[in-house]
């Protein structure tokens, strides 16, 4: 059975995405590969072994298995980065780029901060009635949670250099600002207004103090506005540095994910079954030159699964299985194209059905900033009833929204 599909993936930074694009805005490349454990459980993510990535605030994945777009998608998944749902805390501000290692000891991984930054809640939906040739009926909903324990302890050299340049520039302008603050204090008008305001406050002349404060603030604002105008080009030049700040890490990576699927086989809300419960871990090494090797271990529990037993008879029982496999991935360091091959082997606990495997080849090409085209081809696991290893053939168009702010 050949399955053709077009998949659209939207990686959206929630807060900035729908605002009008400003003419001189720059592109902060935030596109992450789809992470969704919910999509993974419902079988429509573009890869089974997903490379640990730094998540965006929000990501949605929509799949429709027809070549036109006149009907609703049959599969949808959404990921929410948990931390972005809460208001910024008192001390989480500048840690945007210092979340890998402890603030006071760069040689130690900041485990808790890492966990907080990467925890993703995932929701997915699939309507089997809308899928041609589907052997299943009804609708399924899935929920997942994913977080990263390690995302590599090496920062990208380009990022490090750009970040250093940024901090040096900020520090230099900070010192210039400090001088400007001392110079204004020698201005006769500043001294006069400062003195009038302070005397009015200290002597309790509230109304007079208010008036002097307005005059004092106006004078200060005009002075600092003129100062900023002088440094206008300097401030403008920050954009070129920020554009190089693509947060990228290398080294040992380790993700955990877990999820649950609810099936509604009769499309009746009062009749639901737990379709799958799974927990899995992805780990590996991401190299600086674009080569990554990843491994996956997954435990899957399917209550009331109908399958063909080793004697060839149709059987139904609760089945536990274990998946393990690997993925070899090459991403061009400029990310313009990627190639990967992945293999997974599935064993059922107690040997209730024969082992099965999945082998796929994936290719991706970045067709523009935050727009990626990917292709997957290969052999899927044997069906629960059939044993013919479905051919997978899908083109994915991944588009990031919200990175231009």
């Amino acid at each position: 059975m050949m399955r053709n599909s077009i998949v659209f993936v939207f990686a959206v930074s929630v807060f900035g995405s729908l605002h009008a694009q400003e003419k001189d805005s720059i592109n902060l490349d935030l596109l992450s590969a789809p992470q969704s454990p919910a999509a993974n459980l419902l079988g429509f993510s573009d890869s089974e072994i997903q490379k640990p990535e730094n998540p965006t605030d929000f990501m949605a994945l929509v799949q429709k298995e027809t070549s036109d777009f006149t009907t609703l998608p049959n599969s949808i998944a959404m990921d929410f980065r948990i931390q972005s749902m809460f208001p910024a805390g008192k001390h989480n501000n500048y840690k945007h780029f210092s979340r890998l290692t402890k603030e006071n000891d760069a040689s130690k991984i900041d485990f808790l901060n890492n966990l907080r930054q990467t925890a993703v809640f995932s929701f997915g939906y699939k309507n089997f009635d809308m899928i041609e040739d589907s052997m299943r009926f009804g609708q399924s909903f899935s929920f997942g949670l994913k977080f990263s324990l390690f995302r590599g302890n090496k920062l990208d050299e380009t990022f490090v250099a750009a970040y250093k340049e940024l901090k040096e520039k900020e520090a230099a302008i900070g010192l210039a600002g400090s001088k400007a603050q001392q110079i204004i204090k020698t201005e006769p008008e500043y001294i006069r207004l400062d003195s009038l305001y302070k005397n009015a406050v200290i002597s309790g002349q509230t109304e007079l103090a208010k008036n002097y404060k307005v005059a004092f603030d106006t004078y200060r604002d005009a002075y600092f506005d003129a100062y900023r105008e002088k440094y206008k080009d300097e401030f403008e030049s920050f954009k070129a540095i920020v554009e190089k700040l693509e947060f990228k890490t290398y080294g040992f990576v380790w993700d955990f994910a877990t999820g649950l699927v609810f099936d509604f086989p009769t499309n009746n809300f009062d009749y639901s079954l737990i379709g799958k419960v799974a927990g899995w871990s992805t780990f590996g090494y991401e190299g600086q030159k674009g080569l990554s090797i990843l491994g996956l271990g997954r435990v899957l529990y399917s209550p009331d699964l109908t399958y063909t037993n080793p004697l060839g008879a149709i059987d139904t029982s609760s089945v536990g299985s274990f998946d393990f496999g690997g993925r070899l991935l090459y991403e061009n360091p400029g990310k313009s194209f990627s190639l990967s091959a992945e293999g997974l082997y599935r064993l059922s606990f107690g040997g209730v059905y024969d082992p099965m495997y999945r082998l796929t080849f994936n290719a991706g090409y970045e067709i523009g900033k935050n727009k990626k085209l990917t292709f997957v081809f290969g052999r899927d696991f044997d069906g629960a009833i059939t044993r013919d290893g479905t051919v997978i053939s899908a083109i994915n168009f991944v588009m990031g929204l919200g990175s231009k702010k």
């Binding site: 930074s13 807060f15 900035g16 605002h19 400003e22 001189d24 805005s25 720059i26 592109n27 902060l28 935030l30 910024a88 008192k90 001390h91 989480n92 501000n93 500048y94 840690k95 945007h96 780029f97 210092s98 970040y163 940024l166 901090k167 520039k169 900020e170 520090a171 302008i173 900070g174 010192l175 600002g177 400090s178 603050q181 001392q182 305001y197 302070k198 406050v201 200290i202 404060k213 004092f216 603030d217 200060r220 604002d221 600092f224 900023r228 440094y231 401030f235 920050f238 954009k239 920020v242 554009e243 700040l245 231009k404 702010k405």
Partner: protein, 117 residues
């Protein structure tokens, strides 16, 4: 009060108390805080700083000047934000300064805290 500069005259308590001053930049932005003391001593901090004083009396008659160079590296709504907060003595803090910038934009905020008894 202007939204991009701050001047606060702070009345210290009659009886000296332990106090702290915190300056921090908002989420998704890079920031360098430059603090200049009355003595002329300049200190720079990355992202936030907490200055602690064992007795507020030591600040009597002094001024603290600070400026914060903020850069948007991934802010929501491209709104750069700085918060200044004093703990330990009674003031009207926290004070905030904010500025809308385009993506990747930078801005410099200025502030002065003047203490008297």
């Amino acid at each position: 009060m202007s939204d991009n500069s701050l001047f606060e005259l702070i009345h210290l308590p009659k009886v000296g108390a332990a106090m702290s001053l915190e300056i921090r930049v908002g989420a998704g932005q890079s920031g360098t805080i430059t603090v200049t003391e009355t003595s002329g001593k300049v200190t720079q901090y990355d992202g936030d700083c907490i200055l602690k004083y064992g007795n507020s009396d030591e600040l009597n008659g002094r001024e603290l000047d600070f400026n914060i160079v903020c850069t948007d590296v991934n802010t929501s709504h491209n709104n750069l934000l700085v918060t200044v907060e004093i703990d330990g003595i009674s003031t009207s803090s926290p004070w905030t300064m904010s500025r809308k910038v385009t993506s990747g934009g930078a801005y410099q905020f200025f502030g002065t805290l003047s203490f008297y008894k």
